[in-house]
Amino acid sequence: MTGFVIRRLLYSLVVLWLVSTLVFAFLHLSPVAVERVVGGPRATAADLAQIRRNLGLDRPVPAQYGDFLARLLRGDLGDSYVNGAPVATLVAERLPTTLLLVLGAGVLWFTGGVVIGVYGATRARRAGDRAATALVLAGLSTPPFVMALVLLHVFSTGLGEVGIGFFEAGPPSRERLLQRMVLPWAALAFLMAAAYARLTRGAMLDVLGEDYVRTARAKGLPERRVVYRHALRSALTPVVTQLGVDVGALVGSTVVIEKVFGLQGVGQLVHQSITLGDTPVIIGVTLLATVFVVVANLLVDVGYSVLDPRVRLP
């Protein structure tokens, strides 16, 4: 067990190292003149040289690389080109909004997906299943921002004064938190729920064909009990695994939803940094997102190996 955890931990570190090396390579090979971005259009040649020295850009590449990694190890993601603020601080300010978005939507899509999936599986090949499957297909085919834009349009034009609480600017205030987050949650959850419904339906169909389910039915247990107590419990394992991975993967990848609904999360930070050319911020969020993915995968793998010792075998 300990050996397995250590192996997985080392692997996670290798992934993080590879990703940081990749972004360093992007940064170093980039044709963009960083001192221009920092100094602005009116900077003189002397200013530009001074900026290069301050950023350490005049030093040999291996030294810059070593420096980059050493700073990352200390949790220092560098400073914004635009306002000089530490990227770590900028990201930390925005992280709660993104976590609120992802976790809230996660609850919705997990519940919705499982309910639709179980519904489809218990009515396999009948009208209810077909309707559920059509809904799933619609969810899988809808690009995230289309869903968000349509929701925004319908609610902002249709609701009048009542709708204002959905779209107030700035961070969501405590009183209007739910109202403010409902649409972003719905937009994100609708799309994710489709994949979960498909996954749950498949897992349920597999499990419902197993011997122990037949035994439970043969014992004369009510169908409801067989489906929810016996089958669903084991069918949920792959779905919960996916939830862990997705929640990790979505942190930082909710750029589109945050842009459409004006949520000041990490994704919005990325979007604003694109136009400003503020590469350190984008790289910082990319690295942070990788950490989330890697940690989520690690937790899921270790959790899985506790539940099912077979996965520990190489």
């Binding site: 963009v32 489809g120 297909l137 619609a138 899988l140 349009h153 589109v256 694109i274 984008i282 997102a289």
Partner: protein, 309 residues
């Protein structure tokens, strides 16, 4: 840019019966017809431009915007309305269809060859080769694809429209290879132990020959399905990148960038939202339906065919 993973199954039947089964599937045939219409719409883009007299990048501030500077709606002059700069939405949507279809198909095609190659190699070779390839694929899957694409777009800003198009295709293809490779690898591992492979080996066939002549033909059904389901994923990816301004660059119109640029004026000009959104949705939905139909036709297990799940 996650690839849907069809479950592995026995080597499916191929050839004429599959086409007959596909033809009987009303939904998939209808979806194929929709795709034909969208393709025709895209191919005719210059025709629309000539017909209406509105090139896709020309602005018509006098005819396209009203006295208050708001875009005019669908009418005799602009059949599907004008956008916030007074450009013709119909013409731009047609050129955007070219971008979406081209990027979707090109990215899927570009991901297929390396995806099949690494999957085949990993699955057939096994051992250390398999471990290394699988680990590399896992690492690619762990990358936050959207953020890496954004990082790439800001560190390597492209100036020409063609460069933007090429880079978008390459980025999407790159992130699609890993999912593809993993599914193929699983298939190959199941096929590797079958008698016909052992027979070929007993007859003295080399590794390359076994991979190319024995295994590859048995994978064609799986490859077809994966590639056709990759097209809508790639189209959504392109639209998302262009929506954020890091995909296809202006003045080339794309459904994604049309939605991104029109964001401010949707409230008064619904057609700026409705036209590209409906086209995008129709196209991805049709590709998904066709992909599912192909899968059902090639692998006629009753559970699959009825469930479409």
């Amino acid at each position: 840019m996650n690839l849907p993973e069809p479950e592995s199954g026995p080597a499916p039947a191929r050839g004429r019966p599959a086409w007959r089964r596909f033809r009987r599937d009303g939904q998939s045939v209808a979806a194929l017809a929709v795709l034909a219409l969208v393709t025709a719409f895209a191919l005719m883009a210059p025709v629309w431009a000539a017909w209406t007299g509105h090139p896709y990048d020309a602005t018509f501030p006098r005819e396209g915007l009203d006295a208050g500077g708001r875009p005019v709606g669908p009418g005799a002059e602009f059949w599907l309305g004008a956008d916030q700069l007074g450009r013709d939405v119909l013409v731009r949507a047609a050129y955007g269809a070219r971008v979406s279809l081209a990027v979707g198909v090109a990215a899927a095609a570009l991901a297929t060859l390396p995806g099949v190659a690494v999957g085949l190699l990993a699955g057939y070779a096994g051992g250390a080769v398999d471990t290394v390839i699988t680990r590399l694929l896992d690492i690619t899957l762990a990358l936050p694809a959207l953020l890496v694409a954004i990082t790439l777009a800001t560190t390597f800003p492209v100036t020409s429209a063609t460069a933007g198009l090429v880079m978008t295709v390459l980025v999407i293809a790159f992130f699609s290879v890993a999912g593809f490779g993993r599914v193929i690898r699983g298939q190959v591992i199941a096929l590797r132990e079958r008698e016909f492979v052992a027979a070929a080996r007993a007859l003295g066939a080399g590794h390359l020959r076994i991979m190319a002549v024995e295994l590859l033909p048995n994978l064609t059904a799986q490859i077809t399905v994966l590639a056709s389901l990759l097209v809508p994923t790639a189209i959504v990816a392109e639209a998302t990148l262009s929506f954020l301004g890091v995909g296809v660059r202006p003045p080339t119109p794309s459904w994604g960038s049309m939605l991104g640029e029109g964001g401010e004026v949707f409230r008064t000009a619904w057609w700026l939202l409705a036209v590209p959104a409906a086209l995008l949705l129709l196209t991805t939905l049709s590709f998904n339906l066709v992909g599912d139909g192909v899968r059902d036709a090639l692998d006629p297990r009753p559970d699959r065919a009825a469930g479409r799940g």
